[in-house]
Symmetry: C2
Subunit: 708 residues, 2 copies
């Protein structure tokens, strides 16, 4: 028997051998009953069989889904949902419930069958309806692991903030089920390393170790010793030898995980994909229904009637019947505890309630400076000026950075790091779990995905803020997208936008990334032009309760413009300078807004009258009325030129010509980079006046986009 390199056998039995043994057992029909009875109570035996057959029936009816994994995981499901998870089916948003994240690749419908009260309400054919018990939408692999880390961090932070010696009003555990894929995806590996660092003992990963993916055996691509890797990352590791049947061992392991005092726990559960089917243990069991014959055969082997479908016997119903009541007991006792807590600690209690209701202290807006000194400031610095006092005063905000603290200006006075209290570095103690400044390390993708988890704990109870260079939001993009898709309020502070970033060069100049975020649904990409607009951008982002935002700022100092208005940022675009009998509209944006003003002035000397529009956000502008939009742009009357050192694509909606980037950037100091790409006042002025001349000669141009 071959034991793949690097993968130690469990008690001397390799996974391959285990799989073959289990499958061989099951293939000999007469042995099945004996084997089951040997290992299982009769009760568990029938429950597992019922589930496995239900899943096979379900996928058969859909003609698809991921039956193999779901069937292999039936015992884990029973252990978790019957014996360990603290949840309340009738109060799915019970605040202190255990969180469960399903991060691997399978049909969500399996989950429904774990909820006893829903067994009758099985809804085949509607996998798009998300179940109430599901904390986060996963799907793109690896995201769920990082989400679970965020959920566990949320618990830690709320515990440290609100629990008292006599009242533990927050005490939930987070369980995350993963497959082989999640242990390969970078975002999960980042999050695993970080969770170990934080010693999140309230987090458990349950690894459905079936050693099969779409392409076949995991050995084709991964032969590492996963347990040793997890241990190296500061995780507890528990092996479950027989995850197909051994519910008792599973329950023990899960309880042990909940009791862990020092580390997160990794339960490596050996399972067989598609157990009981003819394709058991094979890639074919992963992503397709088994076929009618195979399902019928499964039923015969299990002594079910092959002619009947979706059968749930009375004993199975009985098995789960207690769960809803048990859940309501949990809710009642927690509500009582919170009531007592509010009496004992009225101030803390009131704040805890406000946080649970997702509200900020009403005074947060007063903390924004009412005006700014008239001197050039990088908008990343303005961003800190605006937001840091709010972050200091409002403990809903948890503010993180991917190792760019010196660049992103997000440190408020007296900030405390979110860290395990025992952590000591060269500089001594550095934080505790009530801290709200998060050093994510150089893990941009995990930062965004973990933030989704922080936000998903309860609506707006925590408002996570991330920060990095804008370019690195390409690393984070899959997670930013998932936040938008799930309507999670996460605020991303992206500095060093456009080409003014300087010597770091084209690898750090995000000239095409705004195109992604301007096209992505349900996210606000905002480029404020000076401190006043930065104030507006933060106000919009903080008020967007169901939408993530990206506040995109400059590395270099920007002049303060007297015409900018914070209250107009929410409109997406507004007229900065109106002129009578205009010849042209100039559109300026963000770090280069002043360029448009300068060009307008220079055009005036050539007797060309230019109106100027400030355009911080497409999405916000699209939300305005047609009348407002026409009033700002007046495209039927004037040609319009946009000035922005990004790829133009999409500006054609608002302008007829553009001075934009047609290539990657270049490693040069800020001013030199602008010069190289033609963003100085004089060449821009020349180009624009030449464009107006050309329009007179070639009227076709009026219907075409012109790159200047």
């Amino acid at each position: 028997m071959h034991i793949p390199n690097g993968k130690p056998a469990v008690n001397g039995v390799s996974h391959t051998a285990y799989g073959k043994n289990v499958v061989a057992e099951l293939k000999k029909e007469e042995k099945v009953e004996a084997a089951a009875v040997q290992k299982l109570s009769k009760e568990h035996d029938i429950v597992l069989k019922t589930f496995r057959i239900l899943i096979a029936d379900l996928c058969q009816q859909f003609g698809g889904g991921h039956p193999g994994g779901a069937i292999g995981m039936a015992a884990i499901g029973v252990a978790l949902w019957k014996y360990v998870m603290r949840y309340a089916p009738h109060t799915p948003d019970y605040f202190n419930r255990d969180r469960f994240v399903l991060s691997n690749d399978m049909t969500l419908d399996q989950l429904k069958s774990y909820h006893s009260e829903r067994v009758d309400a099985l809804c085949p054919g509607h996998p798009e309806i998300e179940h109430e018990g599901i904390e986060v939408t996963t799907g793109p692999l690896g995201q769920g692991v990082a989400n679970a880390v965020g959920l566990a961090m949320a618990t830690k932070n709320l515990q440290a903030t609100y629990n008292t010696p006599d009242y533990d009003v927050v005490s939930n555990h987070t369980w995350c089920m993963i497959g082989d894929a999640c242990l390969q995806e970078g975002v999960a590996l980042e999050a695993i390393s970080y969770a170990g660092h934080l010693k999140l003992n309230n987090l458990t990963i349950i690894y459905d170790n079936n050693q099969v993916t779409c392409d076949g055996s995991v050995d084709l691509t991964n032969t590492e010793d996963v347990n040793a890797k997890m241990r190296a990352c500061n995780w507890n590791v528990i092996d479950i030898e027989d995850g197909c049947f051994d519910i008792e061992a599973l329950v023990d392991a899960l309880n042990q995980a909940r009791a862990s005092t020092e580390k997160p726990t990794f339960i490596n559960v050996r399972t067989v994909i598609g157990l009981g089917s003819k394709v058991a243990g094979e890639a074919a069991a992963h992503g397709a229904a088994f076929g009618t014959d195979d399902v019928a055969n499964m039923k015969k082997v299990y002594k079910f009637n092959p002619e009947e479908h979706f059968v749930i016997g009375e004993e199975v119903r009985e098995f789960f019947r207690e769960i809803p009541d048990r859940g309501q007991e949990l809710v009642k006792s927690w509500e009582k505890k919170v009531q007592d807590y509010e009496s004992a600690y009225p101030e803390l209690g009131a704040e805890f309630r406000r946080r649970r209701e997702g509200r900020l202290p009403e005074s947060w807006k007063d903390l924004i400076p009412s005006s700014f000194p008239d001197k050039p400031v990088p908008s990343r610095a303005s961003s800190g000026q605006v937001f840091n006092p709010i972050a200091q005063a409002c403990n809903s905000f948890m503010v993180g950075t991917a190792d760019l603290s010196p660049s992103v200006n997000m440190i408020w006075k007296g900030k405390v790091d979110f860290q395990h209290p025992d952590l000591k570095t060269q500089c001594g103690s550095v934080g505790n779990y009530s801290g709200r400044y998060i050093h994510y390390g150089i893990r941009e993708h995990a930062m965004a995905a973990i933030s989704n988890g922080l936000a998903a704990y309860a609506p707006n109870t925590i408002i996570p803020v991330t920060s990095s260079f804008f370019m690195f939001y390409l690393y984070a993009a899959p997670a930013v997208r998932m936040g938008a898709l799930q309507h999670l309020q996460v605020i991303h502070v992206a500095t060093h936008d456009s080409i003014g970033t300087g010597e770091d060069g084209p690898t750090h100049q995000p000239i095409e990334l705004a195109n992604l975020y301007r096209a992505m649904p349900n996210i606000l990409y905002i480029r404020p032009g000076d401190s006043e607009e930065v104030a507006g951008a933060w106000t919009v982002a903080i008020e967007a309760k169901n939408t993530p935002s990206i506040i995109s700022t400059s590395r270099q100092a920007l002049p303060q413009l007297s015409q900018t208005r914070r209250d107009m940022v929410v409109k997406g675009a507004y007229v900065l300078e109106e002129v009578e009998d205009a010849d042209i509209t100039l559109i300026g944006v963000g770090a280069e807004l002043s360029f448009a003003m300068n060009v307008a002035k220079a055009l005036q000397e050539k007797n060309i009258k230019a109106r100027v529009v400030s355009f911080p956000s497409w999405r916000l502008f699209e939300n305005q009325s047609l009348e407002y939009k026409r009033d700002v742009l007046r495209r039927h009357r004037f040609p319009a030129v946009v000035i922005e050192p990004y790829a133009a694509n999409g500006w054609e909606r608002y302008a007829s010509a553009g001075i934009n980037m047609k290539s990657f950037g270049h490693s040069l100091p800020c001013k030199a980079a602008y010069k190289l790409f033609g963003f100085e006042t004089e060449p821009m002025t020349e180009k624009i006046s030449a464009y107006l001349e050309k329009l007179k000669i070639d009227p076709i141009l009026r219907n075409e986009w012109v790159e200047l």
Copy 2:
């Protein structure tokens, strides 16, 4: 002395203690000389000091850079470039040279000083000029590790293909220098795990373990046991206790790494950032110059003249003098070997020469089917039909997939997997290093970054192909971007585009991702509409020697259109159906091209004459002449409506109205998804005729983009 949790001390001395000791030593001026002499030959001592001072001078002159890391790594540099690396400064493109990838965060100029012949030519102020000796552009952290894995895989594949028992014409090693950041970034973790799986014994990572990043001590974010983690991933691990001075130990370790027979090697080199400066061992040493005083002090301590800058003494020049000649000897002897090899194996020799010249066999185009059966086929299947015979016949192609073999149709007849020959799975042996089908596992980001490394080995010697669902090219995007930036020919096969992907739902429906790739410079995003256009797309991609491509295909079957032309794909867009006295232009794209044809037909019944344009690629279209573009679009004459279930942004350049996606998609079977979002013929026909009516009433609309 605190030893951070999880990080074992080396020989009982923690990193913190090591750093403090070294710094303390150096701070006592009188001890420096003694300490140096104790550990170093006099020769090495003066070389290291010269380098450290040069770097400090350099950064001081720039007023920036990353001096700390560079100074800490001086001894590694000497060990590698003087004693171990096989390279030829005067023949930088020597085919069999060792490859060196600098993946961590520091000024590239340091490298120049490692090249003895360039010491005189130090070019401060021009960090943008890439040095000939640099194999890949890094910068975004983690990419370099994956690039290095690709370079090492390239060597393995060429060795297995061309070496004979008597001639090892390919034998180079790949060295990759990393910092703390690379061990946190997901893309590097994916690549590390995969390199261990492949047993790439020709790859060495040199970890500049200085325990400092921008935010401060690495302990703030990472307390894992990195050596144990690397061992769990099947790597050899070698510790270097004193990486600041112990050149002998470094040379031993590097030689040991080159001699490894079974595994890649990880050399954990303990260094002190900014050694000799006042900020030694601190974050302040990371990303800023030290300041005049500190540099002057360094010089005093090292017994250099503080008034002199960029001093390189004769003994240092002497130390490196032999390197260029040694390099030319290497080149000459390799060229002789290849000459003999070509005589002994004329066929293999000719092929090896063709590969080195980056040419394909001239007959490759003949392998493309000259026509296709007139039946509906998913374009992902057409893609396989077109490309698989080419991949089979031309061994330049290395074709990988991120665990989606059953979906991407990239398996050719008789394909052999790229695997270590000893790998055994449940199904026995599965491949060897001459294999060209790569199971990357569920590691999309590493797949793309490794492919950049494969392509960077030598121009077009290997043409890497990646494949996955289009949506997952968001995971891979940072690496795809680096390929575009470096002009590397990598072909990405992205299936399941637009919303026809079905039940996987909005997390798998890439409705905004094309906006990114259409805006990204130097990459061809191509959506072919049927098999004929697929043939055209592959032809364009294979002929684009300096540009990556994305061939974007459908999951669902597409009808074959009689009007499509493979030879027109290279134009980006072309008229599919011309009509006289047209009322409107319809633009169709990719999987929905036939929708435009159907709508044109339906409009005809309403007496509306529609011309139809097929538009597979914006970038290719932009490359055409103004005349051609006007001829295709005729925007001054007709309104134009684009039909594409992506976010519209950018289509405004080519159309006046669009039927596009305004939200994320939905989990539904293909047809139902199209129906939900209004992409059936009837509603589209209605919308378009209503639009034409509105245009008559409200002429302002002619200058505005209209969402239909």
